[in-house]
Symmetry: C2
Subunit: 189 residues, 2 copies
DNA sequence: CCAATCTGAGACAATAATGTCTCACAGAGA
DNA sequence: TCTCTGTGAGACATTATTGTCTCAGATTGG
């Protein structure tokens, strides 16, 4: 028996490649009849909305894991090592999510529903606060807009997903690679 | 009168937001009747294919501008400054393309047609050679896979597009910001 | 003014997708 | 064996999309 989770995973995987995939295609991609797919999700919109919700849930959990409140405290006390560890943890979770959940942060079904969009904005704000704290603590450079850091992280996540997809980077190296590229860049050591 | 170029630009802009946009939507997005849209592009596939071709043309032109052959030569002679300038030029062109053309590098209509996919692969290889030369010349770190550098650049282009879209970075600062983030990272200066 | 050209609106048939439904059937458990 | 639940296949009406076509009106250029 195919679980709802498996259907969602298959759907996301497939929608990443072909955003126009129909319910019939999504059903067979999940190894399930079209009727069964409709038993899990009344409509295509419902499926997309659930996919968006799951993505935001993961994102939120990753932010929780980074524990922004304690980061704020650490920023005040200048505990750079603590903040670096938080960032590392958060990145690792982002990467893990993009692993087994696909990668839906900016995908189209996120920007379609207002409630998802609002939630997404709120999470962006939370994450931005974290980067701002990191800047104050001297962990991240403060000569660039704080929000740029968030975009750069997102971009590196895209890079990580693509690199794994193409087999250009081993999964076990990915966390360190992303963190190192983010902090140190690609210039000579 | 609306030119084919304007139609393509509008279509790309719209498809970036909603990949499922119908011909009717694309037509009105371009401020044009549906019949007129079909006069420019016989089918939806034809439109998508043209969009993909244009993207690859731009990409190729940017690679040409970076003049990889001379980069190869510079790598051998260790002319780091020359290579850095090539990278800078190429990035600037990439960013300019994402400006007025949208941003279609990995979009779905690229991966659908075999000829576009093959061309894309060839361009990836060319670009990879450039990064490899940069690594040999000591302009880019050589402790990471060469292909990772390409993915990282692409990710930063995504970041740049999003940052501009959200108004988080001024356009005039973008080139330097992307270059600096790529080479130096986001860690403290 | 006039002709040639291009346009948008919309009719049209063909096709694809959606959502609902029924039904036969397989497997699990009593 | 006998339910019982869930499944896949597929029929079905509805709607959306596609691609083609015609036609009246606007624009352009002579």
């Amino acid at each position: 028996m195919v679980t709802t989770e498996e259907i969602l995973a298959a759907a996301q995987r497939h929608l990443n490649v072909d955003p126009r995939a129909s319910m019939a295609v999504l059903a067979s991609a999940a190894g399930v009849g079209r009727a069964t797919l409709h038993r899990h999700f009344a409509s295509r919109d419902a499926l997309l909305h659930e996919l968006g919700t799951r993505s935001l849930d993961r994102w939120e959990a990753s932010l929780d894991a980074a524990d922004p409140e304690s980061v704020e405290g650490a920023a005040d006390s200048g505990d750079a090592a603590r903040i670096t560890a938080c960032l590392q943890e958060m990145f690792a979770r982002f990467l893990a999510d993009s692993d087994d959940f696909g990668f839906a942060l900016t995908d189209s079904y996120l920007t379609s529903a207002d409630d998802l969009l609002a939630r997404s904005d709120a999470l962006v704000d939370r994450e931005t606060h974290l980067y701002a704290a990191a800047q104050r603590a001297g962990v991240l450079r403060d000569d660039v807009p704080t929000r740029w850091l968030g975009h750069a992280v997102y971009g590196l996540l895209v890079a990580a997903r693509d690199a794994i997809r193409d087999g250009d980077v081993a999964r076990r190296d990915l966390d360190a690679l992303v963190m190192s590229t983010f902090l140190d860049g690609a210039g000579p050591r």
